[in-house]
Amino acid sequence: MSNKKAIAMLLLALMMLIAACGSGKNNAQDSSSSSAGSSPSGSSATSSAPAETIELRMTWWGSDARHEKTLKVIELFEQKNPGIKITPEYSGFDGYFDKLNTQIAAGNAPDLIQMGGNIREYIDKNALLDLSPYVGNVLNLEDFSEGLLKKATVDNKFYGVTLGVSTFGLLYNATMFEKAGVPLPSENWTYEDFKNAAVTISRKLGPGHYGTYDLSSGNNTSGLSTFLLSNGKELYRDGDRRFDRQDMIDWFTLWDDMRKAGAVTPPDVMVANPPGEIDKSLIVQGKVAIQAAAASQIYGFQELTQDKLGLLVFPVGSKGSGHVTPDPGQYMTGYAKTEHPEAVAKFINFMVNDPDAALILGNDRGVPPSGKIRDLLAAQSTPTDKVLYDFVSTVSRIASDVDYQQFPLDNELLKLYQVTGEKIAFGAQSIDAAVDEFMTEIDKLIVKAKAQ
């Protein structure tokens, strides 16, 4: 009896063992094929399929509006290039670079990657494809100005084609301004004017309505960096910060005063409805009148509201405007380990030069870099297009002639800035104490950046 039992157990255990091994093997296969990128699966696909279909993966971040447009362009490209198939991998901005970093570390990043102002970091780490062999044949950049190509060029190698020129600004709800009877500010408005406008809007529109989001909190440093530049300082240049403790005190005090005057969203409202998340933004709901944003984001916001939205420049300081010259904000790049670099270049070329693609994409990633495409779009521009064009040209005109440099560990700076702002806004720390901590931490970041 007990013998039988033991044998039954043995058999059972053996079965489980076999099952476990079986699945283990499958897992191993799966992970090996995905971690080695497209090489094994790609080569097997080509050997079995006589037509040699090239399969590319493409990743980008953005709003739903951008996803739709980009998907349409991919479809169009596939129609015109039957040999190439593109699998899209898109998401919002949150977590985009976390995922990308992991994929690059594992060696299986997508072939086509949308990059932002941090492109240099990825060039330095050899993650991006050198496109220079394709410039002039597959990739046509004739209509591009020299300045647009410079930022993505390192040691005569060219890594990314800009998808559009954009700049930071203040996105505002014009309908709310109108309702509150506040006249639209001029491009020379000061923070005093800003405060008055925000206070009036809060008061006139009643409880639950605020003049402005808190630019001293949240994960967007454009308010701070324009404030510093408009007062003759800078966030960062050539390996160092170019501002003092007092500048930060001034900035946070400015916002603390406005908060006390009731002009600013309270911190819990701000956390629950972060200005960066378009579907939660209170600008869209007509409850907050001003927020900081990348100018081209106006498309995503405007799509969700009947209110009229517009763009304003940041207030001026003692040294004039703190705006810098509009930048190539986003790039399309190739992955250094892609199996099909030529197809990658071909698609990038399609995105920036094909008239049909251009009409679909519009100005969603900023004002297009090619002169011909700009003329094409201008011929049939929408009111929102006009707002964006006007704003970009205003900023170009008033911008200080400083050559802007991005803080090297931007992601970490944003988190630090957000926590500092929240500590002050929630009253968890005094401005003095919070700024002391901020200065200590930012100096650590600078040391870390230098070590890299």
Binding site: A6, L17, G24, N27, D94, A105, D268, P274, E277, Q418
Partner: protein, 296 residues
């Protein structure tokens, strides 16, 4: 001889797990031990830096201190509440009611869903300023804050979500309750013991092995909680680090800030913390856990 056969069968049963551990887990574990002594940004090769990561952890990282603090708060609130809640429901369901199977299933559902992203998103809505939780409070005349956006309360919404996933613990309690012989209760009733006395003198002591098991498992799980905090805080552990659970901070360090060496060192510190807590539990167990089958 018979004894060895039984052991062999036991090890055979263990084999699939052992193989899985050896083939799938061992490599990454040793790799992370190595990486914890390096500076590794994921994109370029790791550089050996000795104990520097560990030194920074203990001397120069105030966010880590915040994070450990928040994690202990979370664990010490959520574990007792979850166990108590699960035990209470198990006692109710053990009254021999009709449709027991149905209720058991219904109460187990949150545990199946609770770890998912969708539930965390739902939780964010429920506890927002205009969420249904505040609506319910409103009926009582209380005007609630925004539970997830206020640093004073944010941790409680995480604790609440954790308590709500009581199902697995409850099922194990139910099984434990069924093991207690009915004769004990009958004898006690005859002797005039009331319901509370029966619970205190019979149920609880005989249930201690199950409580011990649930406590240990839940404690270990709670230290590793990630998804809830990630989704509810929008990935940053805010406001003001108030939901920056240990695993979330580890993730931010490793994948957002590209300090995978440091994140690996953090993982080993977490292992030490969890191992210490578990060891303490086992040491304490002989003073309060009672095995009725006569073995010591």
């Amino acid at each position: 001889m018979q004894k060895y056969k039984t052991y062999a069968a036991g090890y055979l049963f263990l084999l699939p797990w052992l193989l899985g551990f050896a083939l799938l887990y061992m490599g990454p574990i040793f790799a992370s031990l190595y990486l914890s002594f390096t500076s590794y940004d994921l994109l370029t090769a790791p550089k050996w830096i000795g104990w520097a990561n560990y030194r920074t952890m203990f001397t120069d990282d105030y966010r880590l201190a915040d994070s450990v603090n928040v994690t202990f708060q979370y664990v010490f609130l959520s574990v007792p509440f979850r166990l108590a809640f699960a035990l209470g429901l198990a006692l109710l369901l053990n009254q021999g009611m009709k449709l027991l199977g149905l209720y058991r299933t219904i109460y187990y559902i949150p545990s199946l869903l609770g770890g998912s992203v969708a539930i965390s998103v739902l939780w964010r809505q429920v506890f927002s300023k205009e969420g249904i939780f505040n609506d319910a409070l409103g009926l009582l005349g209380i005007s609630g804050p925004n539970w997830i956006a206020d640093p004073k309360y944010a941790i409680f919404s995480l604790v609440g979500l954790s308590v709500w996933q009581f199902g697995a613990v409850m099922i194990i309690f139910l099984a434990g309750l069924k093991q207690i012989p009915q004769e004990f209760y009958e004898a006690a009733t005859v002797d005039g013991a009331g319901a509370f006395r029966r619970f205190w003198r019979i149920t609880l002591p005989l249930l201690t092995p199950v409580i011990f098991f649930n406590l240990t498992i839940t404690l270990i799980q709670s230290f590793q909680t990630f998804t809830k905090a990630f989704i509810i805080s929008g990935g940053n552990g805010g406001p003001i680090n108030s939901t920056l659970l240990y695993s979330l901070y580890l993730y931010i360090k490793g994948f957002s800030f590209l300090e995978m060496g440091y994140a690996s060192a953090m993982a080993w510190l977490l292992l030490v913390i969890v191992a210490t807590m578990t060891a303490l539990m086992f040491l304490s167990s002989r003073y309060w856990v009672f095995y009725s089958d006569g073995r010591d």
